[in-house]
Symmetry: C2
Subunit: 360 residues, 2 copies
Amino acid sequence: MTRKEDVEAALMRLRPVVDDALSDVVRGSPPEQLADASEHLIEAGGKRLRPVILLLAAEAVADRHVDPGGTEETGLLPEISNDPESYRAFPAADGSRVDVLTAAACIEVVHTFSLIHDDILDDDNVRRGVPAVHRQYGDDMAILAGDKLFARSFELLLETGASPDNSVPALGMLARTCVKLCEGEGLDISFEERESVSVPEYLQMVDLKTGVLFAATASIPAVLLGHREAVDPLAGYGREVGRAFQIKDDLLDLTASTEALGKQRGSDLVEGKQTIVTAHAREQGVDIDNLVESDTVESVTEAEIDDAVEQLESAGSIAYAREMARDCVERGKRHISSLPEKRPRRLLTDVAEHLVEREY
Amino acid sequence: MTRKEDVEAALMRLRPVVDDALSDVVRGSPPEQLADASEHLIEAGGKRLRPVILLLAAEAVADRHVDPGGTEETGLLPEISNDPESYRAFPAADGSRVDVLTAAACIEVVHTFSLIHDDILDDDNVRRGVPAVHRQYGDDMAILAGDKLFARSFELLLETGASPDNSVPALGMLARTCVKLCEGEGLDISFEERESVSVPEYLQMVDLKTGVLFAATASIPAVLLGHREAVDPLAGYGREVGRAFQIKDDLLDLTASTEALGKQRGSDLVEGKQTIVTAHAREQGVDIDNLVESDTVESVTEAEIDDAVEQLESAGSIAYAREMARDCVERGKRHISSLPEKRPRRLLTDVAEHLVEREY
């Protein structure tokens, strides 16, 4: 099994575990329409990238046995990962057991809350292949559904069975993260009213909107399990991986096919969205605002996009973004180099690689 | 000093203490517009009823000394209340110190979050004498401002200095409360689409929208201070007081003057809002939907409202609501009868009385 196959196998194995946990936690109390609106995006699926990273990070810090039936060499996951239920009673540093699967669900619920509200703010119609919550249920119900998931996420993080001494800093991390998510989205909105945004400003927004949640995702298991020494390395890993993830998203809008994206290639350009690529290109003197003439995704042609991408390539902006994403991954890997050298750490490394190499 | 004067004096003394604490906690990080939108309603003032109840509940459970310069007999507040800073280091059961003023700020921040989002949902224009946040800053910024305050409230409850053993259940109570606030607002929205709502359904909505936050308000100090025996009594007190508060609000819309209300008397009737009075009247066969002919608050006349109120009085609905509010207060008082019989308990009782006797 190659390392790429290995990480893909891990993702394939963990996603359904996360899906199951999520379907348990969001089953709603009345009123019915609010319950439906709250479950809508969670049931629509998604990559479950954050919860999977959380589970891998838990494995990376845990003191644990290797499955007698599967060792490092055979490429099988060690014992604990072969039984999804074992994530419900994951060994903490003090010998107690913590339900890290519920922590993973918490993070996906927070992420979903922010998607629901962001889709209202950005006036987006489709999310995870289904209508955005506000399109399906109206703005009012979408605001409430986001709020309910937000509150649920704190309930979930209190249900892991971790000791109060470890739960309190984990909750603090979650609360701080949510404040920053809001500030990041606020910054993003303010960018829309501005003609230009510099690369550092753009990266600050990415750190707030994406980096902090990835940082919390990767480090919360270490907090809950009482492995204090691993918290900062994993938070550093998460922050860099989150940044790389967003930069890669910006790149894919230009380089992936319309088919693979599930939406018009170049739509960020058409809609005048700030990205790392446009921020760099503007600094190189490219006239970003007139890069494509069409101003709707319906009217733009592939040829127009090709031409725009060519100009961005000539300005070195695509290579610049690619290199930055790679640098983030390298820094992320270095952050966790102090963790025990075992398979889960390698999987975290490989997930980071996977994120910048993905084609959609 | 009469008991009424005493409770008014306590409210007058505690409100500025709460105002000061709030101005410290909401001072915002960038982006600026989001910070401004988040502070807008908090700076607009308000009765600060919830935080004041929280501080009184803290006093009611605390083991404490009486100010040598002021005793029960003189009607002066005991020592700890004469110095606002003492709320920052309030004595807990285990001898440690807890910042109950920050907990009080937390509750007001949660309340403000829910006002901001509810005003969007209810399309209300004015709140606390200033434009609603969404009117001043737009819907998008109002959604985000509510979210940010929501997250801030959890941060605040983590900053009280209470032991992790006491902070964790307090956070659980806050998270559960927020889930229920959303469900209550969801129920309220669903009522708008229905022709009739029964008294029990209406009361369930009130419990979720108002009762649970008052219950958390009154009992969180007991949780944080480690007085477990006082948690249920104070939660019961808060729930009943919250219910009485909402019923009184419904009544005031009909009985207070337009001038005292700061909005058209009878506007709930004109707007077809469900209230305890209309729910009861409908069950008595009153044709609620045609009680007033005008369908805007601009066109309705005082005579029309007088006539409607007379019909509601004939149906016994106003007396019914009055009696129910009084019953809630009595039940609320009984809930805390097990607490030490001292001045703070009496103030909690008097605050409850004050709420149903207020004229606006």
